[in-house]
């Protein structure tokens, strides 16, 4: 029977990689279409809903939540497959076709697990923390423009909204670390705060330079003004370094290697969610992947022209570009080792912040000469 188990020992085929990518594109495209479709089919209902602002807002929120959950199914599966390919493994294989249902099994199992609250924990804080982390990452999706039509709420101050909302998730992380009453959780929480707050500074500065060049803070506005040429091609000298800084900062924001210090297994067990089991832990997981998708989408919006592209439908273009950025992030994650905490902090304050300051000056000069 062992020969059957070991049959999958063969080099990775390019076809398999291609297949995996196309399945994920399909999943994410379907996921992005599903919240859209009922709107076409249920015209009478939508016109009814549109009459009441509160109902409308609720429907929008349901769409976004729907999308985030569905997108995570594809994303987590892809991440595990990708990790497998990077390490000469095959990843999930036995649950569903090529392991496609793996995440479903994980989710059902997590729902049915015992829900442990430590005796000494600060119970209200402990219970609240996962939602404090999850809700901001859900809210950011409200302003992300998938297409010019499909954007939950097109805020004129979209960029500012994104930055301020995503920063509030720090509160949830610290509530988790403090509320668990566990030294590893607390250390992980403190590290997470240090990291998120410091990397927010260059992130804000970089986004500011993009905003200065576009002359608008609305995310849809930033995309439409790239109609002729994507930002990264229009000002390559400015935007390529800006994109790199943005990428590094988002990697740090979503706690991915090489910046996964808040949950460094070898030092801190599992960081701020050490004490969380079952569904509460799943919310942290979900928030992490939602954040990840969102930051990739934001990078696409700011630098790669969002949904703009020829031939394919706009939502597919957006998904494809986002997937490329996600692949870049996964590639970095599964290649690089973890940094030390002092290296991480000094890199941020001594390299990234001055560099992004210089970028702002350059953006100002470029904006004036425009």
């Amino acid at each position: 029977m062992t020969s059957g188990i070991l049959r999958s020992r063969r080099p990775i085929r390019a076809a398999e990689v291609g297949l995996g990518i196309s399945i994920t594109v399909a999943i994410i495209a379907i996921a992005s279409a599903i919240p859209h479709l009922p709107w076409q089919l249920l015209k009478p209902l939508t016109s009814f809903v549109a009459r009441y602002p509160l109902l409308n807002a609720l429907a929008n929120a349901a769409m976004v939540a729907n999308f985030v959950a569905l997108q995570c199914l594809g994303f987590i599966w892809l991440e595990r497959k990708f990790a497998g390919w990077m390490q000469a493994r095959v990843g999930p294989m036995h649950v569903g076709w090529k392991g496609l249902l793996q995440t479903v099994a994980d989710a059902v199992k997590l729902l049915l697990k015992e829900d442990i609250v430590p005796t000494d924990a600060d119970k209200p804080l402990f219970a609240l923390a996962p939602y404090l982390v999850f809700v901001p990452s859900l809210l950011t999706f409200m302003v992300l423009p998938f297409t010019s039509a499909w954007v939950g709420y097109d805020l004129p101050l979209g960029a500012l909204f994104v930055l301020s909302i995503s920063t509030t998730s720090i509160l949830g992380v610290f509530a988790a670390g403090w509320g668990s009453n566990n030294k590893y959780s607390l250390l992980g929480g403190v590290r997470a705060i240090a990291q998120l707050l410091s990397y927010d500074v260059p992130l804000i500065l970089v986004m500011l330079s993009v905003v200065m060049l576009s002359g608008t803070m609305s995310l849809t506005g930033i995309v439409t003004q790239q109609e002729k040429l994507w930002n990264i091609a229009a000002h390559p000298l400015l935007m390529i370094p800006a994109f790199l800084i943005f990428l590094i900062c988002t990697l740090a924001e979503v706690n991915r290697a090489p910046f996964d210090l808040p949950e460094a297994e070898s030092e801190l067990v599992s960081g701020f969610h050490t004490e969380y089991s079952g569904m509460r832990f799943a919310f942290f997981f979900l928030a992490e992947f939602a954040n990840n998708f969102f930051s990739a989408g934001l990078a696409v919006t700011l630098f790669f022209g969002g949904w703009l592209g020829a031939g394919l439908p706009a939502a597919v273009w957006f998904t494809l570009k986002t997937l490329c950025v996600i692949f870049l992030m996964m590639w970095i994650r599964w290649t690089l080792p973890r940094l030390r905490i002092d290296q991480m902090m000094s890199f941020c304050w001594k390299v990234l912040v001055p560099a992004s300051m210089a970028l702002i000056c350059a953006a100002a000069i470029a904006g004036v000469s425009h």
Binding site: I5, M93, H94, G99, A105, D115, H273, E275
Partner: protein
Amino acid sequence: MDKPLTQSEIDTWKVPVPGGSVLLAPADRLAQWARRNSMWSLTFGLSCCAIEMMAAAAARNDLDRFGIFFRATPRQADVMIVAGWISVKMAPFIKTLYDQMPEPKYVIAMGGCASAGGPYRDSITVVKGADQFIPVDVYVYGCPPRPENLINGIIKLQDLITSEHALTRRGQPLPPRTPIVIGGE
């Protein structure tokens, strides 16, 4: 590897509706399916057998195919693979880790040492098997067991999960399980 259904079992799922009856597959099956396909294991190795456990998770054998990956914290783990000899000093920590895992939890005793003390059976500092202080579901024989053997044990554990009642009322104790022995005739 589902066990075949008996007619009486199918009959218990029948729900009469006007004009016939429908089968409602019980949530039990779903829970079993989820549990056996997503056994997250505790990152934790004791001695030489742990190396073989790592080999089972790495390139050639790849435990991730079965949905098994290692979580660092016991709160998020479902399976504990006791890999290696257990010294008298280590035993209380293993017991604590086991108690910290949320139900339902399973234990695989990997190798001769974790099963019964192995080559160190006569030593005063080695506990004679993990089952002295925690309930063990699968004993995998070998010194060390090859990764294939461990995977065999994991598949047998999946069968065990399929054959047990997955959902119990809150507060009701889980029914006892009979352990499985792999190899070592």
